[in-house]
Symmetry: C2
Subunit: 353 residues, 2 copies
């Protein structure tokens, strides 16, 4: 608990006055005022988050946190649980979508076993072992994890970030892998936002109407049974959460404590960020929304954060793929400020009316 408390205390509100200062610099560049739209907003966000007028994005890191979910026993997903470790091996070998996209944007992928329901021997040395347990319990029957496990999962995420930060991190993306984790995330989001379960529950990897109705029913019954304290995100995480989601919460909190911009990925990683936000509301000022997922609960989380996504490409894959795709846009925003000529430098006339 000490690691978590310390990290929460290190997260300060951003200094909004830095935004106006950056806008003045943007307005001196050879382009009509405001004509780069959201790129200019992102430039201001990054300089305000980092408190560094000369910020450059070089070291890009995407954490992919993996865990299993006991609730898969309730037939809420189309894929068998064995896919979680199989995909972790795929990450390690570089064949998954996140590997392709991270190579494309020159980002490092850090794979973390937060609680996969299998020993990952083959991958030893190539993944960080923070296994809290062999998957969560089935929250249709039991609490997903103990409160102690919930706290340890968040602290493991903090530790993973702190370890990687020694190599330098200029921007961070969070991704997830865990069969069943849209069910878990929907339960967390319903509890923490008060939104009806139907409004935050989608088709995950692509289930049909019948399975979707069943998934909603499973979540509703679990929330009624466990009655999580909606003012206590740790209680929500322990009753209906997942280890990788707690890990994402930890990474997000640690990044904010370090004043590093955080690119939210899709529904799962935003659910982890929502837990972080409920622990420390200032953390949302460090978020940049990379994309809007097809998974319907994502919109509600982004509205809670008051964030507009950079991309809207009907993605629903997770793994940090949306965060990776948005990284070049954030880099572009910073390069505009660092590399464009001013009206004075270029001898270009300013507007006359």
């Amino acid at each position: 608990m000490d690691v978590l408390k310390k990290t929460l205390n290190q997260i300060s509100p951003i200094k909004n006055e830095l935004k106006a200062k950056t806008q003045k610099r943007l307005d001196a560049l050879t382009k009509p005022l405001g004509s780069l739209g959201m790129l200019e907003e992102i430039t201001k966000d990054v300089l305000t988050i980092t408190e560094n007028e000369e910020y450059k994005i070089k070291k890009k890191v995407i954490f992919v946190l993996a865990g299993d979910h006991g609730v898969v026993k309730e037939s809420v997903t189309g894929y068998p649980q064995e896919v979680t470790p199989q995909m972790v091996y795929n990450f390690v070998r570089g064949g998954a979508a996140i590997n392709v996209l991270a190579r494309h944007v020159d980002a490092k992928v850090v794979v973390v076993d937060m609680g996969v329901a299998a020993d990952l021997n083959e991958a030893s040395g190539k993944i960080i072992n923070k296994k809290i347990n062999y998957g969560t319990k089935n929250f249709a029957e039991d609490h997903a994890m103990s409160k102690d496990e919930a706290i340890r999962s968040i602290e493991a995420g903090i530790e993973v970030f702190e370890q990687e930060a020694k190599n330098g991190i200029d921007i961070v993306g969070c991704g997830d892998m865990g069969i069943g984790n849209t069910t878990t995330s929907s339960a967390i989001v319903a509890a923490l936002t008060g939104a009806p379960v139907e409004q935050v529950t989608g088709r995950g990897t692509g289930i049909d109407d019948e399975m979707l109705a069943h998934k909603i029913d499973v979540i509703k019954k679990a929330l009624a049974k466990h009655n999580p304290d909606i003012t206590d995100p740790i209680d929500v995480l322990s009753k209906v959460g997942g280890f990788e989601i707690g890990g994402i919460t930890g990474v997000v909190l640690a990044a904010a404590a370090h004043k590093i911009p955080i690119l939210l990925d899709g529904f799962i990683s935003s659910a982890g960020a929502l837990v972080a936000y409920k622990l420390q509301p200032n953390v949302k000022d460090y978020f940049i929304a990379s994309h809007l997922s097809v998974e319907r609960g994502h919109q509600i989380i982004l509205e809670t954060f008051n964030k507009r996504p950079l991309l809207n490409l009907d993605l629903r894959l997770g793994e940090g793929t949306g965060a990776a795709l948005a990284m070049p846009l954030v880099e572009a925003s910073i390069k505009i400020l660092n590399e464009m000529a001013t009206f004075a430098d270029a001898g270009v006339s300013e507007r006359t009316s």
Copy 2:
């Protein structure tokens, strides 16, 4: 006219059957079916356009075509005409937004003087001189250009593309520079789509309500005065068009003839693409919409092409900036197909329900 006719004849309809074949390949990759959304659509578009199952995007080229507009005499824009050559010099020196973004995405910028109202001596050797004339005539009084000039501007665009194609082009973006060219583009789009002038006329570089009302009035009167033949895009281009817009039409037609994917930029370059589409409707199958501009007429052009933009970032700068920003997304789409592991390769279980 021979060059134009020959190019129009070389543009064939795409082979839609290649899309289904590519989707099968995408469905074998280690991700839920369809979970990469629009990226998968772009993968299919590029392989269908290029008719090459092994396509790789290496040589990226952004053509920035510049020209001046006599209609600036009607006070339709906030910037003086001298900004056009000043910005061309800025492009040549590498200080403009398009230079920064092209460097960021590793694209080559090819700057073309299509009809700037000044001699660009300083930039000689670094820009391609295809000057049709020293700016168009004021279309509030006269035809913007002769029919011969309209055809020559399109053919100049074709020649510029053909010349650069000798070095290899795997994807092309089109950008523009020309003070007054949103006024010109709005007139073209109103004529060629039949949309009311109010619906396709926006604030350009940022004019106020009064100037916007005046801009709309100038366009309406010019269309009434010249009564362009809406079934003849050359007539429309000559009466209310611009040299850089004709050049863009030519680049777009030549790229389609070469089966190279074309990333549309914003309102001006899409207006040039609209002229191309009216000359040869098949050309639209070679388009990828990079972004949706703030400039209101852009949406109507994209609807005419039935294209969904990859980005929606409130950009309104032109120069090819939106096309540059979207290039990494198109590259990502292709790398997904070329680099991801299949379920069989990676030993990952497929879905069970």
